[in-house]
């Protein structure tokens, strides 16, 4: 095992896949000469040259479409968005072109592309730079949505996403790039569509993804001091959702809290709760609760921003509710 940052784990996945397959290329703003806005693509221009590490103008709709078009004729583009906030300009290409091409061509034309970049909030970047859009993309049939929480998953999932024949929305955690963790040496692949138990427990299941995995693990530590043994289930892939993993855990603990960074309305948690109540209603000892970001544009003020985010305290409080401790 090597200890890597999340950033370097992603970098290694890019490098290995570009070495492995000459049809893989990286395109986006500042990915080349600048070495990446978040340095995920550091060193790649030197190694692979400007035809495979392509700096673009600030033109998200245009270069997302270039990626889809190149994928339609068999290349495997990795399109980097500097952040998913800026990718809003490219939504037409993701939803109307990437997600639809296979279906509308009756399977003749696929789009084996990865669209990646950081999502969610960082610190005081304000409303337009602090948004979690995974539920938007997960809503669209034809797209897969992947959100790693650890360096090992970041590497293994990105490699799977690049090899996948479908368009994959790969949302990295802006606050996770510096997080260090152990990454298996050599070929490390994590299949899409499989959740992962990050902490085993028997009293309550915390279902989370991306940054809220760390939030949930912290909450679990606090709960342990009160004698509550929480299981933390990291979804890793939002679509396809690993229903079996969720249901197995809830069948064991009988209580569940879903934690996510995004807004509450029609969030990822809404889908998780729908699945749980439909499939294992009789296993539940309490209604499933959700901890989400506040239902407001992200404030700039640091105290208000803190109040708007899902944090361990809110998770502990929700767990106490489902345990009827309050």
């Amino acid at each position: 095992m090597a200890t890597l940052t999340y950033r370097d784990a992603l970098n290694h996945a890019l490098r290995e896949e570009m070495q492995r397959d000459p049809s893989v290329f990286l395109m986006g703003e500042e990915v080349g000469v600048y070495q990446g806005a978040y340095k995920v693509s550091r060193g790649l221009l030197d190694e692979f040259g400007p035809m495979r590490v392509v700096d673009t103008p600030i033109t998200e709709l245009g270069f997302a479409g270039v990626g889809v078009g190149a994928a339609m004729v068999g290349l495997r583009p990795i399109i980097e968005f500097m952040t998913w906030n800026f990718a809003l300009l490219a939504v037409d290409q993701l939803v109307n072109s990437a997600a639809k091409m296979r279906y509308m061509s009756n399977g003749q034309v696929g789009v084996p592309a990865v669209f990646r970049g950081p999502g969610g909030s960082a610190l005081q970047l304000a409303s337009q730079h602090s948004q979690a859009f995974e539920s938007w993309y997960a809503h669209i049939p034809g797209l897969k949505v992947v959100m790693p929480a650890t360096p090992a998953d970041a590497k293994g999932l990105l490699k799977s996403a690049i090899r996948d024949d479908n368009p994959v929305i790969f949302i990295e955690g802006e606050m996770l790039y510096n997080v260090k963790g152990e990454v298996p040496e050599g070929e490390h692949i994590v299949p899409l569509g499989r959740a992962d138990v990050k902490r085993e427990g028997k009293d309550v299941t915390l279902i989370c993804h991306s940054k809220t995995v760390a939030v949930s693990l912290k909450a679990a530590e606090q709960l342990a001091k009160d004698g509550v043994d929480a299981e933390v289930l990291d979804l890793r892939t939002i679509r396809p959702l690993d229903s079996d993993a969720m249901l197995n855990s809830v069948a064991k603990t009988h209580r569940c809290v879903v934690v996510e960074e995004g807004w509450p309305f029609a969030g990822v948690g809404s889908q998780v709760v729908d699945t749980i109540q439909r499939e294992v209603f009789d296993e539940l000892d309490a209604p499933v609760l959700r901890v989400t970001g506040a239902d407001v544009p992200m404030p700039y003020n640091k105290h208000l921003e803190k109040a708007a985010k899902a944090d361990p305290g809110k998770v502990v409080s929700a767990v106490n509710q489902v345990l009827y401790n309050e």
Binding site: F25, M51, V54, T56, P57, T59, L61, G62, F63, A64, G65, V66, G67, V68, G69, A70, A71, M72, V73, G74, L75, P77, D92, Q93, N96, S97, M101, R102, Y103, M104, S105, N106, G107, V109, G110, P112, P141, G142, K144, D164, D165, N166, G193, R239, P240, L241, D242, S243, D244, T275
Partner: protein, 221 residues
């Protein structure tokens, strides 16, 4: 490659074709991407973003604007501040031409120049092809409606490229009138056969509903 489909969002396929031109350059093939769109698409952001990148990266692409004067019911001059669409290429330092789309030989020569430019110099071209729409915008749209006169449509019909070309072939003694008429008839029959084939093809089975959403079906949710 080959034919990569018609696309339902105005202008959205212009970046796609640019990606295909990028792929041709990436793979060092002699392929050229040809993208057809109407004059109404040139006011769309995707057009500008794509043409800028094609010129910047020197891609073998031909952007062929079929300027038929109307975007649905809106005349070009009511939608575009610039009348000569070809001039938009100047913004990207891109080769461009205005082409009489009603003349087969002129069209052919312009296209040939654009293909050579793409193949030999790896440079894109914007062709503004001036033509006319003889029918309504869609099945439910009348031929002239409120936005143009019957006289205008009738006047333009005199320059129908098929009629003009047929007359020329006959005048130059390259084809007999009977042969032109026979060709007309066999083409109409071909279209009719294609229509009948599509109309009589069986509907997809109900279980086809979920086919081809993904390359491999995700697990049941």
């Amino acid at each position: 490659l080959g034919f990569l489909g018609g696309h339902g969002i105005v202008g959205a396929h212009i970046p796609l074709a640019t990606g295909m031109a990028f792929a041709a350059k990436y793979r060092r093939t002699s392929q050229v991407a040809v993208c057809y769109f109407g004059e109404a698409a040139v006011n769309n952001g995707a057009f500008h973003e794509a043409l800028n990148m094609a010129a910047l990266w020197k891609l073998p692409a031909i952007y062929l604007c079929e300027n038929n004067r109307y975007g649905m019911g809106t005349a070009l001059e009511r939608a575009s501040a610039l009348y000569d669409i070809s001039e938009r290429a100047c913004s990207y330092d891109m080769a461009n031409e205005v082409v009489d789309g009603q003349d087969v030989l002129t069209m052919n020569a312009s296209m040939e120049r654009a293909v050579q430019r793409a193949r030999n110099e790896q440079l894109p071209t914007l062709l503004e092809v001036r033509t006319y729409r003889f029918m309504g915008h869609s099945m439910s749209d009348p031929i002239h409606g409120h936005y143009r006169t019957r006289e205008e449509v009738e006047d333009q019909r005199k320059r129908d490229p098929i009629a003009v070309w047929s007359q020329r072939l006959i005048a130059d003694g390259l084809m007999e009138e009977d042969a032109v008429r026979a060709m007309d008839k066999s083409t109409l029959q071909q279209v009719e056969d294609a229509y009948q084939f599509a109309d009589q093809a069986p509907d997809p089975a109900p279980e086809e509903l979920y086919t081809h959403v993904y390359a491999e079906e995700p697990r049941e949710q």
